[in-house]
Symmetry: D2
Subunit: 308 residues, 4 copies
């Protein structure tokens, strides 16, 4: 199998991709950008693309969300959660006190700001365009050190000066493995269904209606993210991560309800929830299991045929 991912080599995305056995054994091709990665899937050049979806500190990745709602349909078939760990690395061992210039992607330095202030107060942070670029620059001796992902250390022959330098120990990035549309894998009992719905009017009533379609069927939300549609300020796509699988009755009925009231509904996939720590999946609320739906459907058949 052929995979692409948001490159260059040495980014967190490559690290996330390599947690998937099929990708570790398959072909891995870095892409220059999320649109390029997505295009490679659409065109059939690769089988799947791993791209970042959201970061617990930095929020949603707008370009990924935008790709999911424009162009030909794609499906999320896996999610991968990866703890975000930054290291400070250099082209050889050196004392922190001597560092003058540190290369860092602005988002990386933002996530390590307090550590940098405490530990290298005199160093100047130089903005560069990616974590991988920072590592490459440090390896070339252009800067005294780099803030980068652990994966960038062996790839560039760097020496780690300090580990776990991020201010928040629990930061996580969530990635999505995108493929061309295909039947979702069967339910596992702990699944996520991702949707994008566009709302006709930017009103509290319209969003209330969307949430009510879910709530009535006992479908919970684990994420909601709004994105302007690009048409004008105030009109939105909402990205919803729902608890459950499209093959389940309650999720199916909720999706049909959304389809009837929303200007547009894009189904983005049903897939197993990735948990970093084992946690109990949230069961269907009382009265809303598949068995309950079957029971009410049977009852409706009976009353429609006069057998009550």
């Amino acid at each position: 199998m052929r995979f692409t991912y948001l490159g260059p080599e040495g980014t967190f995305t490559e690290a996330a991709l390599r947690t998937l056995p099929a990708a570790e054994q398959g072909v891995r091709i870095p892409a220059r950008s999320v649109p390029e990665a997505v295009e490679a899937v659409r065109s059939g050049d690769v089988d799947a693309a791993l791209v970042p979806l959201e970061n617990s500190v930095g929020g949603a990745i707008p370009v990924t969300l935008d790709e999911l709602v424009t162009g030909s349909p794609l499906m999320i078939t896996r999610e991968v959660l990866l703890p975000v760990e930054f290291v400070l690395a250099a082209d050889g061992p050196k004392p922190l006190a001597g560092l003058r210039h540190i290369a860092a992607h602005p988002q990386a330095s933002a996530q390590c700001r307090r550590w940098l202030e405490s530990n290298v107060p005199d160093a100047v942070v130089v903005d560069v365009l990616s974590n991988a670029t920072a590592a490459i620059n440090a390896a070339a001796g252009e800067y005294d050190a780099a803030l980068c992902a652990p994966i960038g250390v062996p790839q560039n022959g760097l020496t780690v000066l300090a580990e776990k330098v991020a201010d928040r120990a629990d930061a996580v990035t969530r990635f999505a493995l995108l493929t061309r549309p295909a039947p979702p894998a069967p339910p596992t009992g702990d699944d996520v269904t991702s949707l994008a719905v566009s709302i006709r009017h930017d009103q509290v009533g319209a969003l209330l209606a969307v949430l009510t379609e879910l709530a009535v069927r006992g479908v919970n939300l684990s994420r909601i993210e709004s994105r302007p549609t690009g048409e004008q300020l105030g009109t939105y796509f909402f990205f919803l991560d729902c608890t459950g699988h499209v093959a389940e009755a309650r999720v199916g009925e909720a999706l049909q309800g959304l389809r009837r009231i929303c200007a547009e509904v894009r189904f983005l996939g049903s897939y197993a929830r990735h948990r970093l720590q084992p946690e109990e999946p949230v069961p269907a609320p009382a009265g809303l299991s598949d068995t309950d739906f079957d029971g009410s459907a049977t009852w409706l058949e009976r009353i429609r045929s006069g057998k009550i």
Copy 2:
């Protein structure tokens, strides 16, 4: 066909029954009470019973509602609306000024109170047990006159002293034709679906949940009536008249939803709405027609099979 109705002969219920051609040509047997009429249907002695359901002035008829939710299931297969018109009648022509005692059922005299005060201020109203009894008593000369239904006049050889003596010209009684369970007649495009739902807890939240199940599917209410379940003050059956037919997708889905969240749902029938004046039926709201439901079901099938 054999029919029973809330007797005795000469009541409004008999008048309502005779508006149905099948009953005008069939056998009509008066019952002493609503429970007796209903029992005759349940036991198979008759094919159908006509009983009063509600009156625009006096409200619901509790005994009818109670019969609908206890014992073996019954179905409403027709509704009949009858304008309530009282006459003042006597055993011969006589001046109003000379009337001393007027026989009347308490509900009848309540509906004619202002007319009585204005037109026969000196007459004493004597309570009797039914409109038909009043007519019979007047015919027997026991009282000077009777407040009764028009149908009681020819049946007892009475003379009308005054017509349309009710204070409200537009009072209407609604009757239900009850049969044993059978497949409902096909939708006419202007139908009513009657339900009784019991609610587990007497809370605003529980009733909100019931109404939300309807609202989400665009099912409107034309009547809601609460009745204590008889178990304790504060627990209720709600009688709901919904716009639409059980064979319609939106009504079917709403019923299934109620079935899943309510302690008990009794389907009481889907039948053509009886209108005294021609009125446009209320169409399904935008996005909630059978065609829309078919469309969303087809879409769900597609996304479940990966064809998006």
Copy 3:
């Protein structure tokens, strides 16, 4: 103090009134009907009237509800719950087997139907116009026995043949003590607020809006009763019994909300809940106590003045 009540003497209403010390010591005048009792309050002839509001078996008393929403305003200042107990009584001791004719108000015989079928299967029940009439008729020897209220026994010198003959042991009638408008008594911590609201359109949406105004402020319903307004089938007054007192912030805010969205809101009183068995009152939900409202009001004042 002068009291009136739904007479005649010997009814359950008189028994209920006499549970109030002020009435036991005051003047008690029977009224022929609920409208007559209510009129005596409105005109100032009496200070208060006790009338039945609802029965756990028979439901709401329509004439009382109608009086509460027509004419000049009245207030409920007390509620009285009285267990419904029927006795079979006669003008002297006699065996049940020998009873041929039993006088009973139709609602009384309906509540004792199963007992009558089991214990006096051969007796004919003769409908009379009130429980008190039944007792009077039996005392006069017109019928072999009467179904009546316990209070009718000593009043008519009757002998009890059987006690507690109602089919449901737990039937309760709820009475309201009505006065002219006055400031409600202070909150007791376990209060009821009664309202009547009319709804502009007979739609699920309008009723949902009413319930949402309550739910958002954590105001619970202990009763909801719909009554046609008398104008046409399908338009309603809803009688709501809410948990809490008009002096409480959450109840006050909910009432204001109803006032803004409903065609008409009648405040019918805030008064101590009468409990036959001691029960814990339902406290205000989390975040909705008067203290919470005070806190949010203080906060609003702060942000309005820029002190955040």
Copy 4:
């Protein structure tokens, strides 16, 4: 008055700031980052800071949102909308066909992708760290041309090669002028109130409750944006832009409701809506004007004092 803004000089933020007369006449100090700009307000070094809030193409600016909900309170006292217009500029006139390297911030080149593909298909886009950097680099002759903001042209003595090169003609960026807390300016009749609320549990029910508090008071949403709180994936701050002013009754009551149910509510300001085209403001819904609130408050006072 002293202002700071997201620099460097020559960015869209400077252009937006200069649309404010007080800033055009006051002192304007560029900041290196949004946190630096915000810190200058908090510390009292400047009176106000203009920072980007959202872009109709790129979405919310996470760093600005994060600053608004951490640290000491700030208030939005103005919003400024600025159409986004990119130009292609160089150090002198030259034909498009000869361009080999074009400097651009990645977000700028993303917004002009289709124009670049059509008009300079052979040029390589070189990522640089800001629009202003691109202009400076082009002026220094490091690259053949720059994608930059119009304001960068005179500042760097550039020549415009092509105007309005963005793919979307209607892209808009919205900026917020932040100050230390102060009483909001009086209502103008067309105002926005900005809030950030954190939700205890990441559930559809919690968000429904928030929206219902607004909907019940007729407060509309013109924007909703979710941001992870940084604590764990799945817990959120919601940024809400509401129609109306905190001094209005309906907005005040809605805010109090949110305060009672949310873990945290940050009031971020009430300010005049900036409209690029004249548009009618949305009036308060029927029944929800300040006059209606006053009317219901007066009515509540009356019923609380028994004057009904």
